[in-house]
């Protein structure tokens, strides 16, 4: 093992401050900023485009958010955590493969040993602000536990936007009513899988 990596004693975490103009602090400065932002020429460029399309009366837009486009079953939006059909228990076993494969390092999980000596996921979070929705987590998941879902509305007040395990987990009543959808995209079982697998012999 090489020790060079330990020779760098600059222990800051790699973040640095961006060089930007200071925010105005006094009233006059703030007023000037408002005026400058309000009466910029770009505003009228946008207004013109809207006006132009309006008087053409050739409208293709759907009435979002009242109306929404249907999305494909393989669409990769905000993750979902699935439950087992039979027992309703969570599919996630806490193997950590999604955490490992994630190329934008947005998944983190804490595991612990529970009362029944089983591995339990005590905490699980995905930072949607970092997530690039590549689908690797769904693909690598050995239990088909983490999948992508159809919820694509991620508006948030800040760049970091964490989604926790409980938020992604299929509600138990949704499962019971049979409304949990299997994901057909990355990680899903390919058709005719059974025919292709060579079965392990069993002495029972």
């Amino acid at each position: 093992m090489k020790n060079e990596q330990f020779n760098n004693r600059n222990v800051s975490n790699g973040y640095f401050l961006v060089d930007i103009e200071d925010y105005p602090t006094d009233g006059w400065g703030k007023f000037k900023r408002v005026v400058k932002r309000t009466f910029r020429g770009e505003l009228f460029v946008g207004l013109w485009v809207v006006l132009r399309e309006m008087i053409k009366f050739d409208i293709h837009t759907i009435q979002y958010p009242a109306e929404k486009m249907p999305i494909g079953p393989r669409y990769r939006a905000v993750h979902e955590m699935k439950r087992l059909w039979e027992s309703g228990t969570e599919r996630c076993i806490g193997c950590g493969l999604c955490e490992k494969i994630c190329i934008s390092n947005c998944i983190q999980m804490d595991t612990r040993i529970d009362e029944n000596s089983r591995k339990e996921v005590s905490e699980y979070s995905i930072n949607l602000g970092r997530c690039i929705f590549c689908g690797y987590c769904a693909e690598v998941c050995p239990e088909l536990a983490i999948t992508h879902g159809g919820r694509y509305e991620n508006a948030s007040e800040q760049r970091e936007h964490f989604v926790m395990y409980e938020d992604m987990l299929t509600p138990i009543d949704k499962l019971k009513s049979g409304n949990q959808l299997e994901f057909e995209g990355f990680g899903a079982i390919t058709p005719h899988e059974d025919e292709r697998v060579k079965k392990t012999p069993l002495a029972y």
Binding site: M1, N3, E4, F6, N7, R9, V11, I93, G94, C95, G96, L97, E99, K100, Q108, M109, D110, T111, R112, I113, S117, R118, K119, E120, E123, Y124, S125, P142, E143, K198, T200, P201, L202, A203, Y204
Partner: protein, 831 residues
């Protein structure tokens, strides 16, 4: 051992005569798969996957020795078929639960299954109930176990606890058809595997051993895991920080495995300690005593200012040996600059002992190290409670006995069932305290080259010998001839008649005989039993490499000067190579770097020990005036028993002030304390190496690339080799001994989550049953020096009637009872 050349897969490879083929290949970066083999231990031959072809014959690389000119092929078609079958067998009934297995990612079953390319299974057998077991600090899951027996081998050949063995699995026999259809080795390996799982030698429910955790470390799969680590983290999430264990002087190579504490808390935390178990074995303190870091929020400027005040006022700095070489150098520089007295009791006594020793040996350091002990076949230990003082020395002793068919002598006043459990070839002699001189004279008498010994010593030794006539009963076999009458058929007449016949037989007979024998009074002085000489003669057969381990009892002995000189004489005039156990972590480094003083002055600064102003990494706010980083938060070097300067890196961040900040404020100048690494005194054997250039790893052939070795400089001899006679001093009364239980060294080990315990007075079960005391009772221990009230802890790892008092618990001021020698007498009364 001579160098030979062998040919592996067309490559000419140099190796030693008698080296195993596997080791020769590994040393030259040639891959031969092997699961059950542990370097430094005896081949187990459980996995059989290391099969190779040597000169056209299939052999196991782990136990076939290389011969000159041998030609080895590591892979042929039949070998590939065997290996594939072996891996398939290992995968039979192995749960496909890698996702919830702690070993996943560093599992040898995973690795070899992929390496061999097992993509389908041909074999099957009905499984039996193999539910998991809680063995205390170790958790065993037989369902995952592949019975490679590496844990058993490590425990037997290296650690010496012999706590694990294979027990019956209770499964059905293999289907007969496999015998004909399967590759031969795979079948016999499966046949054995199918009959056993791992169990406890004691037959109890819980492990009762010295709890080193080495079995879990060597386990290739997730069968044996540390209970504490279970399901805490995947191995690949952990970052390994190469370090040196800071608990004792063995200076074991370890890596702290760190990761953020949790999703909420991004601060790093140490999850476990790993080691290169092929080349170094840890003890329980090293493995489980890792979270002793001192977490502080930030720089406490007020405390720092008062520390500077205190340093201005102070005339003494008192410190412990849990300190890096750099900080020791820094203290020495402060001494030279500001004239502080440096006080470190244990290092001072060791320093004096080394100095006295070098007057006769002519070298600044002892001549040998633990590696030599590993490779020797007759080891003597004097003055050290090995399993507590330096577990690695104990491993070396055990390893030399198991691997080199060695033998040994263990001289110590406190009986040690762990040492006795290592086998019959180690003889324990429980001499009285203060008789260490007699022990060393006895070693001289038994082993020194009498033709070279100075005459004064020869005469003194001869004075212990006397001729005495004793009556021995001997069994003599005698031929006895008898005339018996037998009925025989007369061939002529055809009738039976009585015939007299001579019949002789051998009859053993006891005869008393008077013989003149040599009586060695030294033997009775050290309490050796009557069979000592006879057994020693037996044990000494075929022994040619001798090692002597000298322990800390001698350094504080009232006649330590005489003892040091005797040790030097033994090294000079006998075949013994001497290794000394430094009392604590870096006592050797401190002894070499610092000029130490005997007595404290008017105002003392304590570093990790109590002073008028205390700097401490122990994090106990009531006893600490300024926080310091603990050893796992520091970088620097530590000098080990093997005379090696080992680097250690900081595993965890530290945000407060450190000693270097104080030194800088007092006029020294270094940005980081490791700038002092290159400045360590050359005249004490250190080299001017920059810290950043110091390696910390083992090569594939086991070469230790860690830091550098101290130079053992020669010292001018005075020519005086005189030693004093054995003093008549005796300790009369109830004995107490200053020693820690296993897994404890200092308050730092006692600070960790897994090892935290309350100390007391440790008494053997034998002692308790003889006296009216019971475990849990409070007793007042009192002598001229002071008194302590402690509760009794029953300890089955000691025997005899010496009460042991620990130093690891900072709440017990154990020094109050002892003047300097580790033994004392005291009255023990129930309160």
């Amino acid at each position: 051992m001579s160098k030979i050349t062998i040919n592996i897969d067309g490559r000419e490879v140099q190796t030693q005569e008698g080296e195993y083929i596997l080791n020769a290949a590994r040393a030259n970066d040639i891959f031969i798969p092997a699961i059950c083999y542990l370097t430094r231990c005896s081949p187990t031959l459980a996995c059989r996957i290391c099969l190779v072809e040597a000169d056209g014959k299939q052999v196991y690389a782990c136990n076939a020795k290389a011969k000159d000119g041998m030609s080895i092929t590591t892979s042929t078609q039949t070998i590939e078929a065997e290996r594939r079958a072996i891996m398939e067998v290992y995968d039979v009934n192995h749960p496909l639960q890698c996702g919830v297995c702690d070993q996943s990612g560093e599992c040898e079953l995973q690795n070899y299954t992929l390496e061999i390319g097992v993509d389908s299974q041909n074999y099957s057998i009905k499984d039996v109930d193999r539910s998991s077991k809680d063995w205390g600090h170790i958790h065993y899951d037989p369902g995952l176990c592949i019975v490679c027996e590496r844990c058993v081998t490590a425990c037997k050949d290296m650690i010496g606890d012999n706590s694990l063995k294979t027990v019956a699995r209770g499964s059905e026999a293999l289907s007969a058809e496999y015998k004909d259809t399967m590759p031969k080795d795979a079948y016999s390996m499966w046949n054995k595997l199918n009959k056993s799982v791992i169990g406890l030698t004691s037959g109890e429910e819980m492990l009762d051993c010295t709890s080193c955790g080495e079995c879990a470390a060597v386990c290739p799969v997730g069968a044996l895991v540390d209970t504490d680590f279970m399901y805490k983290s995947n191995s690949w999430e952990l970052k390994q920080i190469p370090a040196t264990c800071g608990h004792c002087a063995a200076g074991c190579q370890i890596s702290y495995d760190v990761k953020h504490t949790s999703i909420e808390n991004p601060e790093n935390k140490i999850y476990r300690v790993m080691n290169e178990w092929n080349y170094v074995s840890l003890c329980g303190a090293g493995r489980y005593g890792f979270d002793y870091e001192n977490r502080v929020a930030g720089k406490d400027e007020k405390a720092f200012a008062s520390a500077l005040e205190a340093f201005k006022k102070a005339d003494t700095i008192k410190f412990t040996s849990t300190i890096t070489n750099e900080e020791a150098y820094l203290l020495q520089s402060l001494k030279e600059k500001n004239g502080y007295k440096l006080v470190n009791k244990e290092a001072k006594s060791f320093q004096t002992f080394l100095k006295d020793y070098s007057e006769i040996s002519g070298t600044s350091l002892y001549g040998s190290d633990l590696k030599v002990v590993h490779n020797s076949n007759f080891v003597i230990s004097v003055g050290g409670a090995l399993k507590s003082d330096n577990p690695n020395a104990r491993y070396a002793l055990n390893n030399s006995m198991t691997i080199n068919k060695g033998a040994g002598l263990y001289f110590h006043p406190v009986g040690d069932p762990i040492i006795e459990g290592m086998g019959k070839s180690i003889m324990s002699v429980n001499h009285a305290p203060l008789q260490e001189e007699a022990v060393l004279y006895l070693i001289l008498d038994l082993f020194a080259d009498k033709s070279k010994l100075p005459t004064a010593i020869l005469e003194y030794l001869a004075s212990f010998h006397s001729k005495k006539t004793i009556t021995v009963e001997e069994t003599v076999k005698e031929k006895v001839t008898e005339i018996v009458k037998v009925m025989k058929k007369n061939e002529e007449t055809g009738e039976d008649e009585e015939v007299e016949e001579e019949k002789s037989s051998m009859v053993s007979k006891k005869v008393s005989k008077e013989v003149k024998v040599d009586e060695n009074r030294l033997l009775s002085l050290v309490n050796a039993d009557s069979k000592f000489e006879e057994e020693l003669d037996k044990n000494l057969k075929k022994k040619d490499v001798f090692a002597l381990i000298v322990g800390p009892d001698l350094y504080t002995h009232p006649n330590s000067r005489n003892l040091a000189r005797l040790v030097a004489l033994i090294e000079k005039y006998s075949a013994f190579e001497v290794t000394m156990i430094p009392p604590l972590t870096n006592s050797l480094g401190v002894a070499l770097i610092c000029e130490l003083d005997d007595n404290v002055g008017a105002y003392t600064i304590g570093y990790n020990t109590k002073g008028d102003f205390t700097l401490s990494a122990l994090g106990d706010a009531s006893e600490c005036d300024l926080d310091m980083p603990a050893m796992n938060q520091q970088e620097g070097t530590l000098t080990s028993i093997n005379k090696r300067v080992n680097p250690t890196n900081a595993a965890l961040a530290y945000f407060g002030y450190e000693l270097n900040d104080i030194a800088n404020a007092l006029g020294l100048s270094a940005e980081h304390v490791i700038e002092y690494t290159a400045l360590l005194p050359k005249n004490a054997g250190f080299k001017s190496e920059q810290f950043d250039n110091l390696p910390n790893h083992y090569e594939n052939d086991g070469t230790e690339r860690r830091g550098y070795l101290l130079e053992n400089r020669s010292i001018e001899l005075s020519g005086d080799e005189g030693v004093e006679a054995i003093s008549d001093d005796k300790l009369e009364g109830t004995l107490i001994y200053l020693v820690n239980p296993v897994r404890q060294f200092t308050p730092f080990t006692n600070k960790t989550t897994l090892l935290k315990t309350q100390g007391g007075v440790y008494m053997s079960e034998e002692y308790l049953s003889k006296s009216e005391l019971n475990a849990g009772d409070s007793v007042r221990i009192k002598n001229d020096n002071g008194e302590l009230v402690l509760h009794i802890i029953s300890d089955n790892k000691i025997t005899g009637d010496v009460a042991c008092i620990p130093t690891f618990d900072s709440k017990i001021n154990s020094e109050a009872l002892f003047s300097s020698y580790r033994f004392a007498t005291a009255s023990i009364q129930k309160v």
